[in-house]
Point group: C2
Chain length 301, copies 2
């Protein structure tokens, strides 16, 4: 994996990030961690998972430089999406990365670097993983869900030495992916087919993102698109006066499923009304029509 400091005995292959989080929760608990800080917007299932594992959760604010990592309070670990904050979109600034590493080192905290779409950066080279800066404090988590398919349920974590024994035991006790698919994936990687697929996909998704941004700019100029040119989704701030419920209902009536940003709110602080738009899913032949529906949902009175 791109810029990750890994030895085979610290890599755990798992059924995706959901299982990874369960495994890591057990390992963190064994290291005395009681609370994990998450970014103020993200997947509610991550919070439910951490809590189901007996951990408390806190949230940290996210601004245009990513998570405000100097405000981590008493948490013993931070779950963070540095390459492309999910869903808001900023990249964690270099100074914030260093501050997070510094926090982990001095406070004996752990970082979980969720690199969910790290292969898809469009405006420049992918940024190296934070994990390489402090492999003894940072867990790297990667997945095939975006590069291949979420239905594959295949992911991997690179685990610091302090967490590896407990993580391996938790992995054993919670099962994992099929050996057949692990071997298929390994062959796919070794043959170079995976790399070619990722490069081709990067180009295709970049074109999709450009189309979405151009269409929105033309049809709904007052709807601001935020975040880095990366990944398979973007967040668009709604035009003044429109609510998330309004727009998602209108989109649904047009046959389009989009989500309001508030569905991803994990903390108290609200964001201005916005949509989270995934552009990876529609088949190519249906993409133009889906885009038209999106613009129609946003412009409808």
């Amino acid at each position: 994996v791109r810029g990750v400091d890994a030895t085979p005995e610290r890599i755990i292959v798992c059924s995706g990030f959901a299982q990874a989080l369960t495994i890591l929760a057990a390992a963190l608990t064994a290291q005395g961690v009681a609370a994990v800080c998450v970014e103020e917007f993200g997947y509610p299932s991550h919070v439910r998972s951490l809590r189901a594992s007996g951990l408390e959760t806190t949230t940290v604010e996210v601004d245009r430089d990513g998570a405000r990592v100097n405000e981590l309070g008493a948490a013993g670990a931070l779950l963070v999406t540095p390459a492309h904050q999910f869903p808001l979109g900023p990249t964690l600034a270099a100074s914030r990365r260093l501050a997070a590493i510094e926090w982990a080192r001095t406070q004996r905290g752990f970082l979980i670097e969720d690199d969910y779409d790290g292969e898809f950066r469009y405006d420049r080279q992918p940024i190296g993983a934070m994990q390489a800066l402090a492999p003894e404090r940072v867990v790297y988590a990667g997945t095939a869900s975006k590069t291949l398919a979420p239905g594959l349920r295949l992911g991997w974590i690179v685990v610091p030495p302090a967490l590896i024994d407990a993580a391996l035991e938790a992995r054993r006790l919670t099962d994992g992916p099929s050996a057949i698919e692990q071997l298929t994936m390994a062959e796919f990687i070794v043959e170079g087919t995976y790399d070619r697929h990722v490069r081709r996909s990067r180009l295709a998704y970049r074109r999709r993102r450009d189309r979405v941004v151009a269409a929105l700019r033309a049809a709904v100029p007052e709807a601001r698109v935020a975040g880095a040119a990366a990944g398979l989704h973007l967040v668009v701030d709604l035009p003044p006066g429109r609510s998330e419920a309004d727009v998602t209902a209108r989109a649904l009536s047009l046959g389009l499923a989009v989500e309001g940003l508030d569905d991803y709110r994990l903390g108290e602080r609200r964001h201005q009304p916005a949509l989270v738009i995934g552009y990876g899913t529609p088949p190519e032949h249906a993409f133009g029509a889906a885009l038209n529906r999106l613009c129609a949902a946003l412009t409808a009175a």
Copy 2:
């Protein structure tokens, strides 16, 4: 599944019994269960899994009629292998089945029926699942690990209504098997190929068991084979004076991996020295040689 009372909304497909147990531990805890009783011999990883999920475990004795289910103490659930106790081999007697159901109904307890090799019964028709007698109190757990391959990591549980919501949430939070393999398996079943494969395997494994029993009887007449004619393993009591460590070391020196029964002891009570012999694994061309090594390990002074 054979004789199971299931509606689609109560079936959860998972990555095998390890994940099933994690899911069920969460659901049982949500129902106020604090302790799970396990059979006095079985998989240590099951006990570790239950404890890692915050449950206490107790053990129940097993005799030739299976688990002594009238001695469950204060446990809120029983994990049981009624078709073919693992590893000792007895089938849970009809009166014990009824007593277990009665216990579950009157004490509001739950049974987890681990039907790990229920497809492989050789001396008569498979016994119906206990689950059908009390689908509101019994979880049925099946797996493709024995019928197809453990590396597939594919299993399923049928969950009582009282546990289903918490089990589904736990399943979501701990991931699960690939959609590709679930769909492949479904096609395999619908086409009838799975059934044909199971029937063919049953015959092949039956022959293997007969060969093991005959070889042991001829070479080591004082080594008693216990348990029902079923499954992919058997337990053989060692000849007087031989220890498990002796015989397993001797087998290993001959290139054969067998396990001592004591490795599966979960309670205080010891069994007389015995081996747990899996006969499903060796390829057909190597089976005769493996059997010769087994007999040599058992007869060596």
